[in-house]
Amino acid sequence: MAQNVYSLNVVGYVNQTVTANTWYMWGNPLNAVGTDNGTESVLTNLVSTAPSPQPNDWANSVVYGFVSGSYTAGDAYYPNYGWFPGNVAGGGADLTPGNGFFFYPATNGTVTFVGQVTTNNSFHLAGPAGWSLVSSAFPATNTLTAMGLIGVPNDVVYRFNKAAFGGYDQGTANYPSYGWYDGDPTAGPGDTTTAGPVINVGEGIFYQNNNATVTWTQNFTIQ
């Protein structure tokens, strides 16, 4: 007797437009199933704006991951070769959804992430005074709390400001009996905007955990 086969796997794509020689702090919004989510598996759909786009247009593009408080040595795009190291086992950045990373393209163009939607994820945030570069594993625009980062008083979140390399916003801190305070001038008694800033699809953020190591979880339902 034939059985019905159901699949809960949802696949999709996300486009990111980039400008040459500009830093981007990103997260991979879609899981490259069957791979280790290294650069050679995730950053494969690269199309420059050159009249005749070639893979080599991306030569000297760079990716840095951030693991256990330190940047990875970096992955670079080599002409006629591709990404190196390219895979996690070889020391390359781990772009699994939920991890943040820096991307520095060498050309103007479009990066297309292709893969499966992740509905469950855990943010392991080392503390105290620990730094984590994270992103929502789920491809949606959400506030910090909606993406699972509930926060504990004294935690701080920084968004990258690509207008100037090394520049970040002023930070969003978490306060006792309040929540995330992101500089809202009306903050105070009665203010309900305590969910933190809205994080874009595929955007990475730095999370400074000033408390004990904690794990936050994401659970989304696709309807």
Binding site: V62, F84, W131, G166, Y168
Partner: protein
């Protein structure tokens, strides 16, 4: 609340400064630029073979380091002459790590972050890139041994002898990614050609040969 925010941010900054250090990165070498090469006794230039560590026969493994100093520190090395470097607080300091690998193709450097331990990070440092072969821990030791192949930025007019370069701050608040070394044919890094440094006696013999040749041609 703003006071608490300020206190939190300052505390974070102070916590970071206790481990302050700067970082710079060697970019990926691409065909024709930024390659690590070596010159044999016959004068042929070859791409350094791949390996980790990458090695050349009896000369041993490759060592590539960034040397850094505060702005305007004198650099005794010239485009034609290698020299020992002054060290200490007013001299030059070697990066905490040294690159030994050539990958993924001959002559190519993998993207490498060098840690400048005594630099505060997120500032500017005077830098140069030096290379040698063998198991010597630093440039001065290798140069004194006089048995290695050597290279430095600015040699043969390739790149700058030294230049001002921004640095990253991995322990900053928030952490700042490493800053790539300036990539320029005249004022930054654009590859290295390792070679043995001729002994003074070799220079003298070469000069004598040239003088003899000139005298011989005049008599003709």
């Amino acid at each position: 609340m703003k006071k608490l925010l300020l206190t939190t941010l300052i505390a974070g900054a102070l916590a970071g400064s206790a481990f302050a250090q700067g970082t710079v990165s060697l970019q990926a070498s691409s065909a024709g630029h930024g390659l690590i090469q070596y010159q044999t006794a016959g004068g042929t230039t070859n791409a350094f073979p791949t390996g980790s560590p990458a090695t050349i026969g009896t000369y041993g493994n490759l060592d590539v380091a960034v040397y850094y100093a505060s702005a305007n520190t004198a650099d005794p090395i010239t485009s034609s002459t290698a020299s020992l470097l002054p060290t200490g607080s007013t001299g030059w300091t070697e990066s905490a790590n040294v690159l030994h690998q050539i990958a993924p193709t001959a002559g190519s450097t993998p993207l490498t972050t060098f840690t400048l331990t005594s630099d505060a990070g997120a500032d500017s440092q005077e830098v140069m890139v030096l290379a040698w072969t063998g198991t010597y821990a630093d440039w001065n030791s290798a140069l004194q041994a006089s048995s290695s192949l050597y290279a430095w930025t600015g040699r043969f007019g390739i790149g700058g002898l030294d230049w001002s370069n921004g640095t990253g701050a991995p322990n900053g608040t928030p952490p700042v990614a490493s800053v790539a070394l300036t990539y320029s044919a005249t004022a930054g890094f654009d590859g290295l050609v390792l070679e043995s440094i001729p002994e003074p006696t070799s220079f003298a013999l070469a000069g004598l040969g040239l003088a003899t040749l000139l005298i011989f041609r005049r008599r003709k």
